[in-house]
């Protein structure tokens, strides 16, 4: 295999090194990566703490949403029951679904990624620890406030998919729906921040030698998971934004009377909503692919096929969203395509199931608690998958749509495909971070309660659905549905009892530690079982196989004695090795940030911004937003500062630079991923425009004169050219580059002004969907122009402080990438909204 970066693979032969290590290395690492005290627990950024907070918070929301499920089941235990009122029931089922999906399922798997990936990849930490901490605090504070809306009767009541027109201001007055629309906002930001961290982390901070062929399946799953968030979440960001604009400013995107279309919401929502199921499932499947080889004590059968299955699921899952819309009257040919894709997506899932079964069959199963939950989950998931194939068939879906059959199906899929693997993961990885392992006896009791309770609740629910009981009804008459409902209620309390046993087990036995965990009690073969401290492993090993601990019995001892990469702190600061994305060849040493109040403040004020906006305290919301931006600017100010040394010895005499920029650097990758998110939101905006044009285009007004278009396009092109030029000339003249960025921003602002002036005379966004879309495009462009301006001012401030020097181009590169993107986006928007209607 050819070297990817010019690094000589023969250098790996220098490891493990011989001879004693100098005194004091251990102590220095302990000092640099010290544990927090007192209030520092709020500002801590280490993945051990942030990951654990994240998992704990997600589990808390799981329990809270589970309690809501018990309330619902109690209400449904008897016909015409008055335990909950209609409105309360509606709020509770909406919050149950929303909290489970947005506050438990996605954050839980993201949390496990943040907690486990550095250990699995043998990195000191993921590349943006403050971003992880920011994502956690924004999610936790905002999530709690969102949940508490229930106690004030302010919770949303339109179902977790919030279909308009039910959720429009006509049928959902008050701020309940706004709590959902804006409340989901910070969760989306949090998920995307986590996704950026995970993508860059998996691709750039692996142990040397851990090429893609040796990458643990969990890391593959997290990589695809994060990529799916980047592609899928923008769609929900856009649709929540559009509905909130419709509610707040009466812009009719979904109002059929004024040229909008409620089906647009369904397309946008399910383009996110169905892949979201796989976003949840893939990391859980990745966990199973890590746990099952340990259970069977043999390597995973069909490793490469499982990687391919994960990738295929990532792709195909974006071609199935319309199967939630089979009953909306879409053309038969369209539904047929999505029906075919919905059946096809079961193939990669089935492939993984067969590989797990083959691994278990080929090995010798050790019946521990993780084995119970893993195999139990497999059974439940397969049952859910089979009813999924049934629902992929259009005629069957017409019969079962919106009945309890569907409820039974997705609970089988989500509980089997996510909750059981997650609980298997809890028991499997607890010894890694707890002084005591969790109880085998209590774990098995919990398993049987949950496993049996699961079937008692949901197996009979298929029949309830086939008997005709619709979803989302707060009560029902006594027409034969009572007995199955009572059975389901009994089962739900069995599940709750099982979860309670786990909670008790956690209280009794889980004792967090970073250094003296119970250890590798299940004899796992992957890197997370190496002895570790708060700085992760003492030295970062060279990886030569997929199960390094099984293949090299001395690895743990050599790692602990510092015989591999980075056995000390090469620069006297927090740091990790950045490697190349394919072969994981060492490229440079990344300085890592420590604890700080700024990311914490940014998270608090971000959550505050959305929550204050929801309760219509606009000026306070603006103040909170400004404070959030201030905290973020102060936070990033500390990046890209001069290093004490230009290169460092990372072990065995191998030296790497301490700074990098361009596509080699982690910051460039992060900006590229962020712009992909922005690009996807923009793509979905274009889709919305074409979707509404296809049914109402004939009545849309003509765009402003062509001369306007030419001027605007020229300015946008000029902006892009200046931004790209700034990057090119920065090495020669940082002031010149700064001038070009300024010119690019001015071009964007002038373009925006001309564009706005061109439309302004006739633009009435509240009158029809066309004008609402144009106003949306202009607002979006204005936001990017404003951010570009802020970035340019930030560059001026850095230049003033003497930090904008030609040897360190990373900050300038990030800004110029952003501004060039903003200009390119403006150009496309111009062509779509002005040239396309004339050409079509």
């Amino acid at each position: 295999m050819r070297s990817e970066t010019g690094f000589d693979p023969d250098l790996y032969k220098r490891f493990p090194t011989k001879g004693p290590r100098p005194e004091g290395e251990h102590e220095e690492l302990d000092r640099i990566w010290c544990a927090p005290k007192g209030l520092q627990y709020l500002t801590v950024v280490n993945n051990n703490y942030v990951g654990l907070y994240y998992v704990g918070a997600a589990f808390l929301f799981f329990i809270l949403a589970g309690i809501l499920a018990l309330l619902m089941r109690t209400q449904l235990a008897l016909p015409m029951n008055g335990f909950l009122s209609e409105e309360t029931y509606n709020q509770i089922f909406t919050m149950h679904g929303s909290v489970m999906m947005f506050l438990f399922a996605v954050p839980a798997v993201e949390a496990l990624g943040i907690l486990l990936l550095p250990q699995m990849l043998a990195a000191r930490d993921l590349p943006f620890p403050r971003l992880s901490a920011y994502a956690f605090w924004a999610y936790f504070i905002g999530g709690l406030a969102f949940f508490c809306s229930l106690f004030f009767g302010l919770a949303p009541s339109g179902g977790w998919f919030m279909y308009p027109p039910l959720t429009g201001s006509a049928y959902s007055p008050g701020i309940n729906a706004d709590f959902w629309l804006l409340g989901i906002g910070f969760i989306e930001i949090s998920a995307i921040a986590g996704a950026i961290e995970i993508i860059v982390g998996v691709l750039k901070t692996r142990a040397p030698g851990m090429g893609l062929d040796k990458l643990p399946i969990f890391a593959w799953a997290m990589l695809v998971f994060a990529a799916m968030i980047v592609i899928g979440f923008p769609s929900i960001i856009l649709c929540t934004l559009l509905l909130e604009l419709e509610r707040a400013f009466n812009w009719p995107f979904f109002d059929a009377l004024r040229g909008g279309d409620p089906l647009l919401w369904q397309h946008l929502f399910w383009f996110f909503g169905h892949p979201d199921v796989y976003i949840i499932f893939l990391p859980a499947a990745g966990m199973l692919s890590m746990i099952i080889p340990t259970i069977a004590q043999r390597p995973l059968v069909g490793h490469n096929l499982i990687v391919l299955a994960i990738l295929a699921t990532g792709f195909i899952s974006f071609g199935v969203w319309v199967h939630h819309m089979f009953t909306t009257g879409l053309p038969a040919i369209s539904t047929s395509f999505f029906s075919a894709a919905s059946m096809a997506v079961s193939v990669p899932a089935g492939l993984q199931v067969f590989a797990w079964m083959a691994t278990l069959a080929a090995g010798k199963i050790r019946w521990t608690v993780p084995a119970y939950f893993a195999i139990g989950g497999l059974i439940v998931f397969v049952m859910g998958g089979l009813t999924g194939v049934m629902l992929a068939l259009v005629p069957f879906d017409w019969v079962a749509h919106d009945t309890y059959f569907v409820v039974a199906h997705f609970h089988y899929v989500l509980i089997g495909g996510m909750v059981f693997p997650l609980l298997a993961g809890f028991y499997y990885w607890a010894p890694m971070m707890s002084k005591r392992r969790l109880s085998e006896r209590m774990g098995k009791i919990a398993f049987w309660l949950i496993f049996v309770g699961m079937h008692v609740t949901f197996l009979v629910m298929h029949l309830t659905g086939l008997m005709g009981m619709p979803r989302r009804v707060y009560t029902y008459p006594d027409i034969g549905w009572t007995l199955p409902n009572q059975i389901s209620t009994v089962g739900s309390f069995m599940i709750a009892a099982g979860v309670l046993v786990i909670v008790i087990d956690l209280f009794r036995n889980f004792r967090f530690t970073a250094g003296d965990g119970a250890g590798n009690v299940y004899n796992g073969g992957t890197l997370e079982w190496l002895p570790a401290e708060l700085y992760s492993v003492r030295s970062i090993p060279v990886i030569t196989s997929r199960y390094p601990l099984w293949d090299d019995p001395n690895l743990g001892k050599d790692v602990e004695e510092g015989r591999y990469f980075l056995p000390n702190s090469a620069t006297g600061e927090r740091e990790t090795i950045v490697t190349s994305p394919i072969n994981a060849e060492p490229q440079y040493l990344q300085r890592m940030p420590g604890p700080s109040w700024f990311h914490f403040g940014a998270a608090v004020f971000t959550a505050g911004f959305f929550l204050l906006l929801t309760v219509k305290l606009y000026w306070l919301a603006v103040a909170s937003g400004v404070l959030a931006i201030g905290c973020i600017l102060r936070w990033v100010w500390a990046n890209d500062l001069p290093m004490k040394q230009a290169s460092a010895d990372i072990g065995a005499g191998i030296r790497v630079p301490t700074y990098s920029h361009g596509p080699r650097s982690h910051s460039w990758w992060a900006m590229a991923v962020l712009l992909t998110v922005a690009g996807m939101i923009f793509v979905m905006m274009c889709f919305s425009y074409i979707f509404l044009w296809s049914s109402h285009g004939a009545t849309w007004p003509a765009p402003p004169p062509m001369v306007d278009l030419m001027a605007c396009a020229a300015l946008a092109a000029l902006g892009a050219a200046c931004a790209i030029g700034a990057q090119r000339i920065y090495a020669r003249s940082s002031v010149g580059a700064l001038g070009l960025i300024g010119a690019a921003v001015i071009a964007l602002l002038v373009e925006l002004w001309i564009s706005f002036a061109g439309w302004r005379a006739d633009l009435a966004p509240e009158l029809n969907s066309h004008d609402a879309l144009i106003a949306m495009f202009l607002s979006w462009e204005a936001m990017f122009a404003a951010i570009s301006l802020m970035m340019a001012l930030y560059l001026v401030a850095r230049w003033w402080a003497g930090l904008l020097v030609s040897e360190r181009p990373a900050t300038m590169e990030s800004v110029s990438l952003f501004v060039a993107y903003a200009a390119g986006q403006t150009l496309i928007a111009l062509l779509l909204t002005r040239a396309f209607p004339l050409a079509a």
Binding site: L212, L305, L311, A340
Partner: protein
């Protein structure tokens, strides 16, 4: 990027083809109110073209080269095969009379 394009060729072409046939069907229905014979022919034809491209890629990838190691080559080849089957499967609805 070349590495990733080769690795994901089968899946990328499946996704492109899926978007294309959805667009062809939508444009046809938008323009004429029905899924015409021409649009069906285009859907099936594009399926054959895309599958054909993958067959050519598969044959070229089999010869190997410096760019891909054994792992990525096995992923690319199997992905291309899956892509061929998936593209043909996805085109089948156009053969069913409406």
């Amino acid at each position: 990027m070349k590495y990733w394009f080769i690795l994901l060729a089968g899946l990328l072409l499946w996704a492109t083809h899926f978007g294309l046939i959805y667009a062809i069907a939508s444009i046809s229905i938008q323009a004429t109110g029905e899924n015409t014979l021409l649009s069906r022919a285009l859907i099936v034809g594009s399926g054959l073209v895309f599958a054909g491209i993958l067959v050519v890629l598969w044959l070229r990838m089999r010869r190997g080269g410096d760019e891909v190691d054994r792992f990525s080559q096995s992923l690319s080849l199997t992905g291309a095969l899956i892509g061929i089957v998936a593209i043909l499967w996805q085109s089948l609805p156009a053969l069913v009379p409406s």
